[in-house]
Symmetry: C2
Subunit: 421 residues, 2 copies
């Protein structure tokens, strides 16, 4: 089967909403650790996929999945040790107050449920999210996605400028937080009130940003003053991604009311979670009910627990911190060399290079040029992506098992491609 | 670990929205075929769990899951054979027109996406569902769930009386369809218009009903006349559940615009789908985009394909039809014997016994009495559930691999418990 033939069959059988990376999509047939292999045996260093954070086909995770699937897979309306053990293990990674878990299947489901909880508890309807945010694909979460054609109609939704210190160099913690306050005020003025502020503290879809010190605390304060809850969407920032801490909110020293987890939680297996305080979970339970058929089933729970154990036993948080710092050094050198690298922002093993046509005007490179760049990097055997409001950010987000040697290879590929531009 | 200790740990670690079957929840530790086992080795005949339709821990499904998980798990932004092979296999089970698949993780996600598609394509906002319907737990789908405290506020939602020929014996195909038309008219009158009619043709949450001949066609006609789309939610009715046909809509000889699949599709693995026409999928793609990280990944696709292969190779559709007819004979005999069995409705391996306090007034038995009955049946080593508007329907919905011998055991347990009431 040639790729072209497979591609044609795919176009016929799947909906046209399916898109693919690279103009000539690659056919990935095998994964191992940080490596992906195509059907011809070509080997790619994965610097894109955060879902498999503990490495492709991690043996411990595969074993946990296979062993439990052969014994039992049901749901949480019977007792089972696994979901309890997972909840206990997961809670132990959070501040004591965040002690209550609800399991779902996807980050979308987690965010959607977190919002249902926020609305039920606060009695308010409104939500604020950063401009160009992405929090999922359900009807409600999708409404927050400005890339969608029909964005902008919802009277319960207001957006605010994210804390981009490269594109808004005059911005301070206070001025950026004021933008969030203005969004809250618009919701109060139109009678919706604030149910929740959704925060992805990696600011992935905003281009991967580091907020000024004190910004996140100010947003939390303003949210609470308006009677809203703070939902930290840790689908991107969590699970050690940013280094030094397990969670993005710890990096910023804030205490969210609700945390949502997704992608890396099951290393590809669809498992996700809402983690919150007992008080919030209890209030919600008094008002509403929730059951998720697959959420927290014995297999999903075994997988999610194996992922945490793997991160702990292999000390992957330390690895992210160390290799992340090493990677940043290399990226800084590249940035110094090429004017079109306007800014490098990120943390741990999550970096964004804001690529520009002109260093003075900061006009973003076109998305088609980014697409050329990621393709050229792919042709060097390294997989990276793009993100941001203008899709001009080169996105580097490898599995957490990434080594310094891997970083060298990634940096060499960037360097080689950048040198030809 | 005693059950009490596990239960206490569970209450501490999980949200209080978690509920369980039976006042003294059972701790299920192992599954095999139609059997579940608790921690003491007690064996239960499973007459409840439709998710594992090909049997608990089906060896072919477990092998497909384990083998693929050890090789690769990514997403649909690279090419992969599995998702294409699954889409082709799945489409082959549908009328030719329904040839386009979009994969997601849960029935909720499938229904939520189907509704997004319907709204985008029709330009209308309104939805009609049967009274007491259940179509999922996202914010939008949950709004359709009348069991929820805050039900009734949505101006885009209207409900209609389901075609219950036991409780409305005067009802005809026409009069029941007129109730759907009245709901459509209310949406037209309030300016919402009709985007979609959501139909679960097993009428599970309505108590498991068989609609009069011609009813479904009339609802389709009225829906289309109002400019809406027909979404058949086959999470319950599909995958051979009702016997004779793969899908509930075939039983009624109608052609839906969109079909949604869920629970049994992955035998417990979170995989679900939207199946629709190329025309609808294309129109949607022109208006909007959709991507689901886990949906249709190589592992989920391998599992979902193995489930279809298992149904085919073991001729489970024929089994459902045959054993279903056998089971019905036995249930009819029980109904003849006990006045409190008001009605038996269902098809294939999905049956509901409408239990009443009084055969003349048809006053439903209380939900607490149903809970007692299912507990007593459980104590006989057989697992059944309850459903319906008043939760007074004894629900029998075993895996599709159910045998006549299993049916005998289930019938004996019902008989034994009923004889004591």
């Amino acid at each position: 089967m040639t790729n072209t033939a497979l591609w044609k069959r795919r176009e016929k059988a799947l909906g046209p909403t399916y898109t693919h990376f690279y103009d000539q999509p690659i056919n990935i047939v095998k994964g191992e650790g940080v490596w992906l292999y195509d059907e011809k045996g070509n080997k790619y260093l994965d610097c894109y996929n955060n879902v498999v954070s503990v490495g492709h086909c991690n043996p411990r995770v595969v074993k946990a999945l296979s062993d439990q699937a052969a014994i039992l897979n049901t749901h949480t309306r019977y007792l089972h040790e696994n979901v309890v053990a997972l909840a206990e293990k997961l809670s132990s990674k959070f501040p004591e107050k965040l002690d209550t878990c609800i399991f779902v299947c996807t980050g979308t489901e987690a965010n959607d449920l977190a919002l249902q909880m926020s609305k039920a508890i606060t009695g308010n309807e409104g939500v604020i999210v950063s401009d160009a945010a992405y929090h999922g694909n359900s009807m409600i979460m999708g409404a927050m996605d400005q890339r969608r054609e029909d964005f902008g109609g919802a009277n319960w939704l207001e957006t605010f400028e994210p804390p981009n210190t490269y594109r808004n160099p005059e911005g301070t913690a206070e001025s950026f937080a004021d933008a969030a306050q203005a969004a809250i005020t618009r919701l109060e003025d139109n009678g919706m009130g604030l149910a929740a502020t959704m925060l992805d503290l990696s600011f992935d879809s905003n281009g991967i940003l580091i907020a000024p010190d004190g910004y996140a605390s100010l947003v939390v304060k303003k949210t609470h003053a308006a009677g809203g809850l703070v939902i930290c969407d840790e689908v991107q920032a969590g699970y050690c991604r940013l280094g030094d801490h397990w969670w993005g909110f710890e990096k910023y020293g804030i205490m969210p009311d609700i945390v949502t987890l997704g992608k890396p939680m099951g290393a590809g297996h669809p498992v996700a979670a809402v983690v919150t305080t007992r008080e919030i979970a209890s209030k919600f339970a008094q008002i509403d009910s929730y059951f998720n058929t697959f959420g927290g089933n014995p297999v999903s729970a075994a997988v999610a627990k194996a992922v945490i154990d793997e991160i702990d036993d292999r000390e992957l948080l330390k690895n992210v911190t160390d290799v992340g710092a090493y990677l940043k050094e290399g990226l800084d050198k590249i940035a110094d060399k090429y004017d079109f690298v306007g800014s490098i922002q990120g943390s741990g093993l999550f970096w964004g290079l804001d690529l520009v046509k002109d260093a003075t005007t900061k006009e973003p490179m076109s998305d088609s040029q980014l697409s050329q760049i990621t393709t050229m990097i792919k042709d060097e055997g390294v997989l990276m992506g793009s993100t941001g409001r203008f899709d001009n950010i080169l996105k580097i987000r490898p599995p957490l098992v990434f080594s310094k040697e891997n970083a060298d290879q990634a940096l060499a590929a960037i360097e080689k491609v950048f040198s030809t531009l």
